[in-house]
């Protein structure tokens, strides 16, 4: 072993947004109104043109994303962040923090944020995940057309988890299911939730990572290999492997998913490594890649901007592929 072998942070592999909300420094940034990227839609387009960010965009709007007061102009194709989080409302600053998320999306040209809300303490109780999902539904109403919801459940709640998934999709209009690390995705306790998602025609965004050192705080984290195994068992399921760039060895993850054609890879995460997107496109194909940030906003957008791929391929990653996934919802 190289190095002094100091303590490895327990926070590792909980990428930013999947971690319990961190304390936000209350110090506000100095804002210069002259140079502040403007927030109204027309000026936002000007900002994007100036930065050159996200010039090629996805083709079709996400199902369930209704135009609202702060919705982007209809003429501009949508960029969809497949992995975001609203802030738990036990946190005093949740409202401002959610607004800051939408503001960040505005500044970076992200039109739609697909959000879940996790309980601060896990494993989540049924009451806990139901409360989170109610607040996510409220977040969709507060930011119409900008926030779409994933139903977060702990599969260990059994029938209550399955019922909650159905209720969230059918009553709240959620677009998918978010699973974390309470169980390996190949544990049979998870299967009824997967089967409900298949019935409803919605994707499952699954927390994932593969590291080469023990993660004592995440003994049941799934990785690309387990997700591929789940996909072999349920080829009808639409599975999203979360945060390629926040889940440890991304080369391992990409290779593990190669022969699992129904598993999509979310490119989000805080790790800014070069060449991730290109390797994923080469090994998996661009049709299986979904743009995401997982709250690491400039990393998420910047890596797609920097990827050496044709603009048409970037458009698929930025929103086209996710829009197709969302269009598959039953009913």
């Amino acid at each position: 072993m190289i190095g002094r072998g100091g303590s490895r942070s327990l926070a590792i592999l909980i990428d930013r947004a999947d971690a319990p909300p961190r304390t936000r420094d209350p110090t506000p940034p100095e804002v210069d109104d002259v140079t502040e990227p403007p927030r109204d839609p027309a000026s936002r387009r000007t900002f994007l043109k100036r930065t050159g960010a996200l010039a090629a965009l996805a083709a079709s709007p996400a199902r369930g994303a209704q135009p609202g007061a702060d919705a982007p102009p209809a003429a501009r194709p949508r960029v969809i962040d497949c992995h975001a989080h609203l802030h738990h409302r036990g946190r005093p600053s949740w409202e401002a923090d959610d607004r800051a998320l939408v503001d960040a999306a505005d500044r970076l040209g992200i039109d739609v944020l697909c959000c879940s809300m996790l309980t601060p303490k896990r494993p989540a109780t049924a009451d806990g995940f139901r409360e989170c999902n109610r607040w996510t539904a409220d977040g969709m109403k507060r930011h119409p057309g900008r926030i779409l919801g994933y139903a977060y459940v702990n599969p260990g709640a059994g029938a209550e988890a399955v019922d909650e998934v159905r209720r969230c999709v059918q009553e709240y209009g959620f677009i998918g299911v978010k699973l974390y690390n309470e169980f390996f995705c190949t544990d049979p306790v998870v299967f009824p939730v997967i089967e409900a998602a298949i019935d409803l025609g919605v994707p499952i965004l699954h927390h994932a990572g593969h590291v080469h050192h023990p993660l004592p705080d995440q003994p049941r984290i799934s990785d690309g290999g387990r997700l591929a195994e789940l996909a072999a068992r349920y080829p009808e399921a639409k599975i999203i492997c979360a945060h390629a760039c926040g889940g440890g060895d991304w080369e391992w993850t990409i290779k593990a998913l190669r022969h699992a054609p129904t598993v999509y890879l979310d490119t989000s995460g805080s790790v800014p490594d070069d060449a991730v997107v290109e390797m994923a496109a080469k090994v998996l194909g661009v049709d299986r890649l979904l743009f995401g940030c997982d709250m690491s906003m400039t990393q998420g957008v910047g890596r797609i901007r920097g990827a050496d791929l044709p603009e048409a391929d970037k458009a698929k990653i930025l929103g086209g592929n996710m829009a197709k996934l969302l269009a598959g919802r039953a009913g």
Partner: protein, 258 residues
């Protein structure tokens, strides 16, 4: 002009790098609008004898000193480091990079302090990457923790005449390195690549608490997509004068013009 204080050349032990020759990196810089870059050897991070990496780098950047500013990786725990430092100075190196975690020494070790003093006497800035890779990505062969910010703060306080570039770090805004009133000397620049300028906005908070004259642009290329740091700089809510300071003026005042 954009000056990147956090760039590298050569192979890395644990994954392939693109754009890691002088020609390759200059091509990438041209494509991204980056004028100059402070570069060190990526190989020297894991070579036992880091000086071999410095010699490779010197050969690679020869004739490109207008854009590629060579920084030497010196390991004060390894035999002959004083000779290596002198040799690097004579080869035209303009700064140092230290890897205390990878090279197994502490910033407070007497040999490290002697190296800092020697570099200061040569007027060489000293850059310290807080990490090389995210700890989650590390190979099974290595387990190198990040450089603790508390140790960095102790070093900048102990050597007020030295000049430090703090690379690949985050979490400054919550500690003494991120505050003007902490009593630390203003002898360090914080490089922005690992912090954000939206949402958590640590870069914006550092501008507010420490001042735009204490930040420096960096990318970590070719380990990282340079576009990420460029986007952070673009999205940062500061006036254009402060943006220019961060983009290159602050670093240029330390490293000199092209």
């Amino acid at each position: 002009m954009i000056l990147d204080v956090n760039a590298y050349l050569g192979p890395f032990a644990f994954r392939p790098l693109r754009h890691n020759t002088a020609d390759g990196l200059l091509g990438l810089m041209d494509a991204k609008g980056i004028g100059r870059a402070a570069v060190s050897s990526a190989s020297a991070i894991t070579y036992r004898n880091a000086q071999a990496g410095n010699e490779e780098l010197a050969a690679e950047v020869r004739g490109r000193a207008d854009r590629l500013i060579p920084f030497a990786v010196i390991n004060p725990a390894y035999a002959g480091w004083r000779d290596d430092l002198q040799a690097c100075r004579e080869m035209g190196f303009r700064g140092l990079r230290l890897y205390p975690g990878w090279h197994r020494y502490a910033l407070s070790d007497p040999a490290c302090l002697e190296l800092v003093d020697a570099a200061t006497a040569m007027r060489l800035p000293i850059s310290i990457p807080m990490r090389v890779e995210d700890v989650r990505n590390q190979s099974w062969l290595v387990n190198v923790p990040e450089v603790p910010l508390a140790e960095v703060a102790a070093l900048v306080a102990a050597r007020p005449d030295a000049r430090f570039l703090l690379l690949n770090g985050a979490g400054f805004a919550n500690g003494p390195l991120g505050r003007k009133d902490s009593g630390l000397p203003p002898n360090y620049l914080i490089e922005i690549s690992r912090m954000d300028s939206v949402l958590t906005d640590e870069i914006g908070r550092l501008v507010a608490s420490l001042g735009a004259d204490r930040l420096a642009f960096g990318t970590g290329m070719p380990f990282h997509y340079p576009d990420i740091s460029l986007l952070k700089l673009e999205a940062l809510r500061v006036d254009e004068a402060d943006r220019r300071r961060i983009a290159g003026a602050n670093a240029e005042s330390w490293l000199g013009p092209a």
